[in-house]
Symmetry: none
Subunit: 137 residues, 4 copies
Amino acid sequence: MSRNITLEQAENIIEACKVEANSIGQPMNIAVVDDSANLVAFVAMDDTKLIGADISQKKALTAVYFQTDTRELVPLVQPGAALYGIESTTGGRLVVFAGGVLLRTSDGTIAGAVGVSAGTVDEDHQVAEAGRKAFVG
Amino acid sequence: MSRNITLEQAENIIEACKVEANSIGQPMNIAVVDDSANLVAFVAMDDTKLIGADISQKKALTAVYFQTDTRELVPLVQPGAALYGIESTTGGRLVVFAGGVLLRTSDGTIAGAVGVSAGTVDEDHQVAEAGRKAFVG
Amino acid sequence: MSRNITLEQAENIIEACKVEANSIGQPMNIAVVDDSANLVAFVAMDDTKLIGADISQKKALTAVYFQTDTRELVPLVQPGAALYGIESTTGGRLVVFAGGVLLRTSDGTIAGAVGVSAGTVDEDHQVAEAGRKAFVG
Amino acid sequence: MSRNITLEQAENIIEACKVEANSIGQPMNIAVVDDSANLVAFVAMDDTKLIGADISQKKALTAVYFQTDTRELVPLVQPGAALYGIESTTGGRLVVFAGGVLLRTSDGTIAGAVGVSAGTVDEDHQVAEAGRKAFVG
């Protein structure tokens, strides 16, 4: 299998996320997946929260599955909105709040995603975004 | 086991769905199930979203299980409504928004369902509806 | 997401499998997955066995996950052999007997797999093999 | 939560495993868990097998859960042996063959485990062992 993202690229992304997480003083769980949501690399920073190991991976998966950042799903899954109830499907693997960001190569092809979890959803997104900026695909 | 829908019928339905999906420029996941919600045929069109592989099959299952199009469930599952929370049951196999349509034979017997996923819920329903129109049971 | 296998290629594979299945009089479940084991196309031939819908998809997944035909796993998973007990892992998604065959492009890259189920394991493999021969990647 | 293993230690272990994996020409999935089997770090080397992402993590978990290297379980789980069938328990999270090794601090306290998967079981163990040697806890 050839991936649209290499381990080296994933490690660079994680490194950038760690720098950002340290800068805000929030140790994070950080997951990078490929364009089919297969896990490429993961780290749990010291003193992070256990919940984030699972959630960070699922945020990355969700971004790939929907081809969008997970925070874009927030309005769509509220009561009365178009995708209300969707998080019950797909074997409980979807996360419908912020912290998963999509990675695209320079030509727009989906390369994978970064998922971050342990802080507030805004912090999670901010740290994931730092990872995205570090990606040169 | 004899089904109320043949593979040839299912393939015709999928063909009609593909034509409709192409006409609106949205590559779809399309699933056809029989009257017990067993999968008869499935296709993932090129460049579709991964989320739709699971969701399209579950939309078709949900239509058969409730004997109705899935969009009819939307008002029933909202907070305060009669079936609020139902999507958590059945092992997460229910989808409670549009895109699953019920197939009936000319005498009204349930033959199966079509589930479509990857576009907006309205697009999904539209493409599934094209499949239903192609069904002569 | 771009796949190493198109829907048209998957449909050609399934067509070849159906011809082979008809030639031996055994209606089959036939699944084609991409190189990350995402489902691309599936058919259940009329009068096939229900067990095969699940098993055919898992055979294809297993071939991709192990980068080999599933029948190669048979000696490895027997009592006392190297991978004894492996089928309990991976959420019950592995099938460790014949019927899943790996698809490679002409340059050797993994493109996906075909999984077939409903006959004897030899029949399943034979029908999957017919699909592989029809694949020009 | 404080762990008996830091992320930096886990990353050193993974680095040593990668060197060993490269030396034998087998790209691996490598997982490091803490003394409660929580995932600390994971990498999938380029061109590895997808099966190993799940299995490597479960090998590490199994080593921690049993407080032993996973290859020690092999004779115990064979037909007629004391733990026959145990891999079906624990939600399918146990791997009962080689490739998971236990990490202990210098005073003998369990610190976590390394799990490796994608090669033969002997290769997997060898690469995990290289990670253990790199651990100074």
